[in-house]
């Protein structure tokens, strides 16, 4: 078992807690750096997609995993980010300006959508955000002067200072850079007062209030920041898709995003990455499954959403902490071997909480 001797308070603030972590993250960094040189273009592209999902997932994780507000409408922010970015670029804005602009649009819309969340929680909020996503989908389909309606809209090639990022490898590094930046910002937020306030709201609104946390402000902030990250991912996704159409951002995408944060592990940024890898691999897995199943079952049209739903339910029932939670348990098993107690993470009934004010 590892024991980290702490001699400075700053050690609790820093990202890496000990040299072991530094080593493994350096190794991971090296791997993602050389990966596009070892993989062919198709897999480099798939890996870029995983990173884009991860950026969107960071946003949703802040909202669902850290603030405790459920959203079933995050595909809408992905769509707004993608369309805004494509529109700005078509109008001649440089790539970086356009991407920042698209993110800003999502932040503003996120803050507005966040307002109902001050009154609603749980399933009601999920329904409200779902409705919002439907509205956005309809608007995109009918606002033809900007979005091209059902005909769709072509996305210009990404370019920084007339240096094209259109090749899979260049695009991969662009997305990787944005992902690292997004993780940095999100983790900074989580070690600051506002991030802690979000966590407080997730665990107990009444006591967050008693600690002087302005519920309305923090919830709106959470929505805005969350929408910003997802919109940023949307802007990058636009280049990946190449041609935008309203039916690319359906409820299925929202569910997929939610599936990602739940399967990865709610309440951890590691979970986002695990979830993104999982979601990235899933379509390949399902395609493989289709081929190996008997024709009658393999060709059922709704197989994909069905499997998504089944996985979500199985995780919620058997491993609510997700892949990251499972990894923590496995790690503990080996670090405490042979003394690991199965009941360490057994879900225990919590003590009664104050029920007088709800």
């Amino acid at each position: 078992m590892r024991f980290v001797l702490k001699t400075r308070y700053a050690q609790d603030v820093d990202f890496f807690k000990h040299n072991g972590q530094r080593f493994w993250y350096a190794l991971l960094g090296l791997f993602v750096f050389v990966a596009p040189f070892l993989l062919d273009d198709f897999y480099t592209g798939e890996l870029s997609l995983v990173f884009i999902y991860a950026i969107a997932g960071i946003g949703l994780m802040l909202l669902v995993g850290y603030t405790g507000l459920v959203s079933l409408g995050h595909a809408a922010f992905l769509a707004i980010g993608a369309y805004a970015h494509a529109y700005f670029m078509t109008e001649g804005a440089p790539f970086i300006v356009s991407l920042i602009g698209a993110t800003a649009v999502c932040v503003v819309i996120g803050a507005i959508v966040g307002i109902p969340s001050l009154r609603m929680t749980g399933i009601y909020l999920a329904v409200a955000t779902l409705a919002f996503a439907q509205i956005v989908e309809k608007v995109l389909a009918h606002w033809e002067s900007v979005t091209g309606g059902h005909r769709g809209m072509a996305v210009p090639e990404p370019e920084i200072f007339s240096w094209s990022l259109g090749t899979p490898r260049a695009f991969y590094f662009l997305v990787l850079l944005v992902l690292i930046g997004a993780l940095f910002v999100a983790l900074n937020l989580l070690r600051s007062p506002t991030g802690r306030a979000m966590i407080a709201i997730r665990d107990s609104e009444i006591s967050a209030q008693a600690m002087g946390i302005h519920l309305a402000r923090v919830k709106t902030t959470s929505f805005a920041v969350s929408a910003g990250f997802t919109g940023l991912a949307g802007g990058l996704l636009a280049h990946k898709i190449g041609y935008l159409a309203p039916d690319a951002f359906t409820i299925l995408i929202s569910i997929q995003l939610l599936l990602m944060v739940v399967v990865g592990g709610l309440g951890s940024m590691h979970g986002v990455i695990y979830g993104a890898v999982f979601i990235g691999l899933l379509p390949q897995g399902i395609a493989f499954l289709r081929e190996s199943l008997p024709a009658g079952i393999g060709q059922i049209p709704g197989l994909e959403p069905g499997i998504f739903g089944l996985i979500l339910v199985l995780f919620l029932v058997y491993e609510p902490l997700g892949i990251f939670g499972r990894w923590i348990k496995i790690r503990l098993f080996f670090s405490e071997f042979p003394l690991y107690r199965k009941s360490t993470y057994k879900r225990q009934k919590s003590y009664l909480r104050t029920e007088r004010v709800h």
Partner: protein, 252 residues
């Protein structure tokens, strides 16, 4: 000097008059206990002070300013911290993080500074951390520092909740049944800590409590409520022999 005062405060829920025309004054530096049978309106009174409920009538003043209509989060900003009867901690986080959240009202950083984690944010966090350690030392919570709240025994949770309230750096602390769920030894410790909080840190304490030994040991003044009405106010010894109090507890 009067720190907290309620003037003819009333609230009813439907037909139930939970608190009726209650007035009291807590002087700065006192330990003030509120006792009474179950359902007397003690916790309701706390919830009125921390603005979780709106009063139907009457007013509450703190430091001479009316707080009857301020938003709930401003109550903490003005220097009133509280604990809850069955604990309301941030269950999925460590003791350390719970205590850091207690510093929320003292933050001086804007969101954008936090997103970039400028040196200013880091320094602020180190200062908070130093203060958290002082509270941890005061209440002997060292061994729990890095544990998740969900894994702690109930007695420890009660202490963490008091610690979190202290991190707010309050002038007044409201303790809602601090000894419920504690064993006799822990209750004994609690009485010393309440005295420490009051005398060393100079924080005024208002507590709802059932354990009469504890009340007698630490209180300067005692308020007795029954059915939402004040039936007696006085020193612990005055209260013990008060005929109305005996009637409220034991019946005629």
């Amino acid at each position: 000097m009067t720190l907290l005062a309620a003037d003819n405060v009333s609230i009813s829920f439907g037909g139930v008059h939970a608190v009726r025309d209650v007035s009291f004054e807590v002087a700065a530096g006192q330990v003030y206990s509120i006792i009474g049978p179950n359902g007397a309106g003690k916790t309701t009174l706390f919830n009125l002070v921390s603005r979780l409920y709106d009063v139907d009538a009457g007013s509450i003043t703190f430091n001479g300013e009316a707080i009857t209509r301020v938003p709930p989060h401003q109550v903490a900003e003005r220097g009133i911290a509280r604990t809850f009867q069955n604990t309301e901690l941030f269950e999925h986080e460590t003791v350390l993080k719970n205590l850091l959240i207690g510093h929320h009202v003292h933050r001086q950083t804007a969101l954008w500074e936090e997103l970039l984690f400028l040196p200013k944010v880091r320094e602020q966090d180190l200062v908070f951390r130093q203060q958290v350690e002082d509270v941890i030392d005061l209440l002997d919570l060292q061994s729990y520092r890095d544990q998740i709240i969900g894994n702690l025994p109930f007695g420890a949770r009660k202490m963490v909740e008091i610690a979190r309230a202290l991190c707010l750096g309050p002038q007044l602390i409201l303790l809602d049944e601090p000894s419920s769920g504690l064993n006799p030894e822990e209750t004994e410790d609690l009485s010393f800590w309440i005295e420490d909080i009051n005398e060393e840190l100079g924080i005024t304490v208002v507590m709802v409590e059932h354990d009469m030994n504890l009340v007698n040991q630490v209180s300067d003044r005692v308020l007795v409520l029954a059915d939402g009405v004040v039936i007696a106010v006085g020193t612990p010894s005055e209260i013990q022999g008060h005929p109305d109090v005996l009637r409220a507890y034991l019946g005629d």
